[in-house]
Symmetry: C2
Subunit: 219 residues, 2 copies
């Protein structure tokens, strides 16, 4: 019983700090996305491909969240955008206070779009608001088409679903229509993109959506 | 501060219940494995292929853990082995008390090997002992070769690493030697198998290890 109470208090405190972050973003018209997925679904590769295509058109900043290592910040940093790495030291999700600290190390006035790459975990990050405008859930085709049904909270919390690694569809037992159907069963409002971050397939639609949504946030 | 204390108490209580489970297993010489991985790494497919090969040679039982749905229990149940599904209703890991309740619905005296398939999550299940003899971590080649470094707790807690979906190696940016090297950096005592559950590659070595380890537990 006491555990549930404590957990509720943790979430309430997180929500309050997320609201502070959200005000910092909206005061600047800064679009902030919280990218979530299982480990290895391709969040970082999608981020690299996105930055490579869009960094001449808009100013992008990144916050990387990982249980250990700054490997992802190193990868993204090569593209010349500002990156802050948060190492959670064992914790399975980012929280609003950690993101708030990371924000102090970025010049938010110099950004149009801030992408937060969460810890690879399809369960826990669903409960923690970071102040983002939207959660984007990335699902790899290699994970199978039943995942929206098995991990519904994340798909319910997300506004956008990116089905990644479509280049591997010929080699895996996954049906992309079944992924869409299962995702929409859980959350009929999901905007869905299909991408292969390593080949570039589908990135145009995803990037154009990012550009128009970023412009919309700024207006 | 109080949250940390509560969390320690939760883990202590879980450890005590795991010890009770472990005694039930060792009194019968029953080998119990706790299979962990990211969502979609192929735990259930590996389980299906393993049962298909071994069910005539030993008596296998399964406990399925999922956040939602009994899809995995339905898949495994087709192979004619006793299966109990635990639905955690949002919780990101199995705990020893849930497993204890599931044990009451299996006839343990009629089993040689009990496989517990945990919730798909490469972080949280590392902290929760279920009473198993060993944790087996399954890593899909599609997740990339950096995962042991980025999620070290799970690889440190595991006794066995199964590198699955080796059939997809020609199509992904992952180096199987780098996976082994990174895993051994984190835990030099890991026993490693390479499998492709859907093609059958590598299953002989994995299954022979299972047979000899099951016999060893019974002796």
């Amino acid at each position: 019983m006491s555990v549930v109470t404590i957990e509720r208090k943790v979430l309430e405190k997180n929500d309050a700090l997320a609201a502070v972050n959200r005000e910092r973003f909206s005061a600047r018209g800064l679009l902030v996305l919280n990218i979530v997925s299982s480990p290895g679904a391709g969040k970082t590769s999608l981020l690299e491909a996105t930055i490579a295509r869009l960094s001449s058109r808009m100013r992008i900043g990144v916050i990387e969240g990982d249980v250990q290592t700054d490997l992802d910040a190193q990868r993204v940093g090569r593209y010349g955008v500002p990156v802050v790495q948060i190492v959670t030291n064992g914790s399975c999700h980012l929280e609003a206070n950690l993101v708030g600290q990371a924000l102090d190390r970025l010049n938010l006035d110099d950004l149009d779009l801030l992408i937060i790459e969460n810890v690879g975990n399809l369960v826990c990050p669903a409960s923690y608001d970071l102040g983002e405008a939207m959660k984007v859930v990335v699902l790899s085709t290699t994970e199978g088409d039943d995942k929206p049904l098995k991990y519904p909270a994340m798909f319910r919390q997300a506004s956008v679903l990116v089905i990644n690694k479509t280049d591997l569809l010929p080699y895996v037992n996954a049906d992309i229509d079944a992924i869409r159907r299962n995702a929409w069963t859980v959350n009929p409002r999901l905007t869905v993109f299909e991408t292969a971050a390593t080949t570039g397939a589908g990135l145009d639609a995803w990037c154009e959506w990012l550009v128009s949504t970023t412009v919309g946030a700024h207006a």
